[in-house]
């Protein structure tokens, strides 16, 4: 589906991604978002979580085409 990355320099720990897709995102010891293993959340929730980030720190790339889908 997507290759998800979190730009740690942008992440401020607002945690909206964790609230919306808690099987995909968590906060680490620096209070920054990290990716969890597995595919626990439906794709639309992962997309919503990425779009909810106030600093646009979550990047979604289509795994098949390699195109950046968000932001």
């Amino acid at each position: 589906m997507w290759k998800i990355t979190v730009d740690r320099d942008l992440c401020i720990g607002a945690a909206s991604c964790v609230a919306l897709a808690m099987k995909t995102f968590a906060l680490d010891g620096e209070n920054k978002a990290i990716l969890l293993d597995g595919e626990g959340d439906p794709p639309e929730m992962v997309k919503l979580a990425a779009e909810s980030c106030p600093t646009k720190a979550i990047i979604l790339v289509d795994e098949e085409t390699g195109e950046q889908e968000y932001p």
Partner: protein, 417 residues
């Protein structure tokens, strides 16, 4: 003119826009209209300080492009201020005379900064850092400003301090409470922040308030801040952050139940049928803490927007989340998690010290046979934010750990197993 829509959303911020997007995924054909008080697409207030400091461009503030509204067929009506709600007719009247008829209404009007009501408060270069327009004003004024005064300790005050420092502006912070950020912090936490500010060349004056602003001779631009104690501070630029308020007077005749915010249950349903509320303007029933709760964070607004959209589309969904907000400044961090009202809890456990420049306060409350954490303030201990948030969310009974909570060698991860 009267217009009709299926889902009318008042407020084009994080809660309203997120709700619109989720409604569209659940309801492909409904008509969705957002009324926004500003004339912009959704942008990130969280990034305004980064924009002011020149770290990002103005365009990077925007979280949605025009295409998103078009593709999702979400009508965005800018410069629209709601003036009256007539529930019997399912009608909203705007200040400009237009009216909208709705099937379902979401009120997500957010909050606005409390304005300082003293002589000279309308002078130029006095700013609140709330809108893009405010940020533009600050950027312009900062080009020539040499001295700045910040009114109020708090998140916005800290953002002003960070930005003024980056711009090379000599800065004084005026705090009305007896010590810095005294409205929300204890004296020790306050001292840690004050030390950080002072180490960065920012002067902090507590226990004094603004009497008036004086303009420069023959100009409508601020020049001096006079305090109640009689002191004077020169200022080319003033930043104010003294709290936020809800603008809900327009609902006065609607019969809406309001208590600090629009009162809702855990489903974000208001006291009026087919009317819902989300974000900063809401006093929702907090399932975790089990009291009405008003929260003003980005994460809360987006999450409530996503949840209320489901309920509005007849997938009734309870909102259950722990709010947390963090500010990073001068290489330090300060987070608020959940409920941090001192009067609400039975005990506050303190970890760390001023000497360590790290202090965590853990707010503990008894629920029948359980002892639970309901909130925390965390200064310079980022690793503690996640376990504390999880402990609040999972309603962990911490009775067996309570005596060790204040011990820094006790890893808070043990709370959540």
């Amino acid at each position: 003119m009267t217009r009709q829509t299926d889902f009318l959303i008042i407020g084009g911020g994080a809660a309203g826009t997120t709700a619109a997007g989720v409604i569209r995924t659940l309801n492909p054909n409904a008509k969705i209209t957002i009324l926004s008080g500003e004339n912009y697409r959704l942008y990130s207030r969280v990034l305004l300080p980064n924009y002011i400091r020149g770290e990002i461009t103005r365009e990077q503030l925007f979280l949605k492009n025009p295409m998103w509204y078009r593709e999702n067929q979400i009508e965005l009506v800018g410069n629209s201020k709601a003036a009256k709600l007539i529930p019997d007719q399912k009608k909203v009247e705007l200040a400009n005379g237009e009216t909208f008829l709705y099937k379902k209404l979401l009120i997500a009007t957010g909050a606005s900064p409390i304005r300082l009501n003293v002589p000279g408060a309308d002078l130029e270069n006095i700013s609140y850092m709330w809108t893009i327009g405010d940020a533009d004003t600050i950027i312009e004024a900062a080009k020539t400003a040499k001295r700045g005064v910040i009114i109020g300790g708090g998140f916005i005050g800290l953002e002003f301090a960070h930005s003024f420092k980056e711009k090379g502006i000599e800065t004084v912070i005026l705090e009305g409470a007896p010590y810095y950020w005294g409205t929300r912090l204890d004296e020790k936490s306050s001292r840690v922040l004050r030390n950080l500010l002072e180490a960065n060349g920012i002067k902090v004056v507590a226990g004094d308030q603004v009497q008036e602003f004086e303009g420069r001779t023959l100009k409508r631009v601020v020049g001096t801040v006079k305090t109640k104690s009689g002191k004077k501070y020169e200022a080319d630029l003033v930043g104010i952050g003294i709290g936020i308020r809800n603008d809900l007077e327009w609902l006065n005749d609607s019969g809406m139940k309001i208590d600090g915010g629009i009162v809702t249950n855990e489903y974000l349903e208001t006291s009026i049928p087919d009317v819902y509320a989300a974000g900063d303007c809401v006093s929702f029933y907090d399932l975790i803490i089990q009291v009405p709760h008003i929260v003003g964070t980005w994460g809360n607004a987006t999450t409530q927007g996503a949840v209320v959209a489901k309920t509005m589309c007849d997938v009734r969904t309870a909102f259950e989340a722990v709010s947390a907000y963090t500010i990073n400044f001068f290489g330090s961090s300060c987070s608020f998690i959940g409920m941090t009202e001192e009067d609400f809890v039975d005990e506050i456990v303190v970890r760390g010290s001023v000497e360590d420049s790290k202090i965590t306060r853990i707010f503990v409350k008894k629920y029948n046979s359980q002892t639970r954490i309901v909130g925390a303030t965390v200064i310079n201990n980022p690793a503690e934010v996640s376990p504390l948030t999880t402990a609040v969310k999972n309603r962990v009974d911490i009775a067996s750990h309570k005596d060790r909570l204040s011990d820094l060698s006790f890893d808070l991860k043990q709370l959540i197993g």
